[in-house]
Symmetry: C2
Subunit: 211 residues, 2 copies
Amino acid sequence: MKQNTKYNIKSNLKRLFTYRLCLIGFKRKGFDRIFSHNLGEEAGVTAEQVRKDFSFFKIRGNKKGGYQINDLLRAIDEVFKYQHNQHVVIVGMGNIGRALVQYKRFLLRKMIIVASFDIDPSKQSRRWGIPVLPLEMLDDIIKKFHVKVAIIAVPEISAQDVLDRLIDLGIKGFLNFAPVMLKTPENIIVNNINLCDELESVIYYTEKVIE
Amino acid sequence: MKQNTKYNIKSNLKRLFTYRLCLIGFKRKGFDRIFSHNLGEEAGVTAEQVRKDFSFFKIRGNKKGGYQINDLLRAIDEVFKYQHNQHVVIVGMGNIGRALVQYKRFLLRKMIIVASFDIDPSKQSRRWGIPVLPLEMLDDIIKKFHVKVAIIAVPEISAQDVLDRLIDLGIKGFLNFAPVMLKTPENIIVNNINLCDELESVIYYTEKVIE
């Protein structure tokens, strides 16, 4: 897969998620049907972009009288439907890791955190709904639950090591909270969430852009 | 400020944050100097883009023998330096809110969470380093600490109400964790982090893109 494709699909997905939120919003307001230009306006893109994205994800609907909102929501759910449950592991049980294992919304979307891992034995003795295991058990758990996705919530200093180890064990996709540029081979996807950067970016606006 | 400008600056900032992570990486490997094409390659953009972004943020350096990495890092820090401390409030002390008030990295970047708020009195009695206050005290705290930025970590059902209330109290910038499209007037910035979407996006890759 080329780097370029990676980035394009990332933007496509991002817009698809935005459409979903907008559609839920329209539904809440009592709408049943919607035109691509309504949805585009709400999502901040053109109607053409909406139709392009729908076509990319093979989402169809009756365009003459507008789309049925429920049909669209079902079609979007279909995009993220797989043949088996989505099992995820978390490595690093600091503040972020602990918040994520307790984050109920993942379950609503059928993303199941099957286990968490930490090198600190004192954390292993505690439980936050799911077991906290030593890293030596990664291999067993990944095999047992056919895990392909991991969340990295370790300090930046150990993030690359943890990533390399997980790749060796067959993990293909990562959600990374460590503020560091991780090196990955091809065909591995890393989605970075940098909380400091996100907050700093808001502050920058309020200080230097908005007057 | 036009919507377009908003989005452009957002991408500019995102790349600037990436450059910073790359520069820290280069430094760790023992490099002192760097050319824009090295940095571009590491960050996944062209050398021209790097120079454009530096020019946008008024970051200068000796281009002949390459940039001094330390100079660049200092110049990037300068972009985010303001005349006063950056005070932030958090509304919603669920799992995410609690993780964020304990997230030490914000402090390292001089972003100070001065107080958190929750409607649940049982949470108000507990303390996670900073006070958890009832929403009635928002006005006092925002005035006292000259707060312009808030983190929204409430359930989606109350997110718009909380946002509207905070805007009335003078908050200009938001980091929002509630999975909902928030309506904002002009000159207000909302940066959304949707944890489910981020994880689902990784899963989509591992299931449907990577082979």
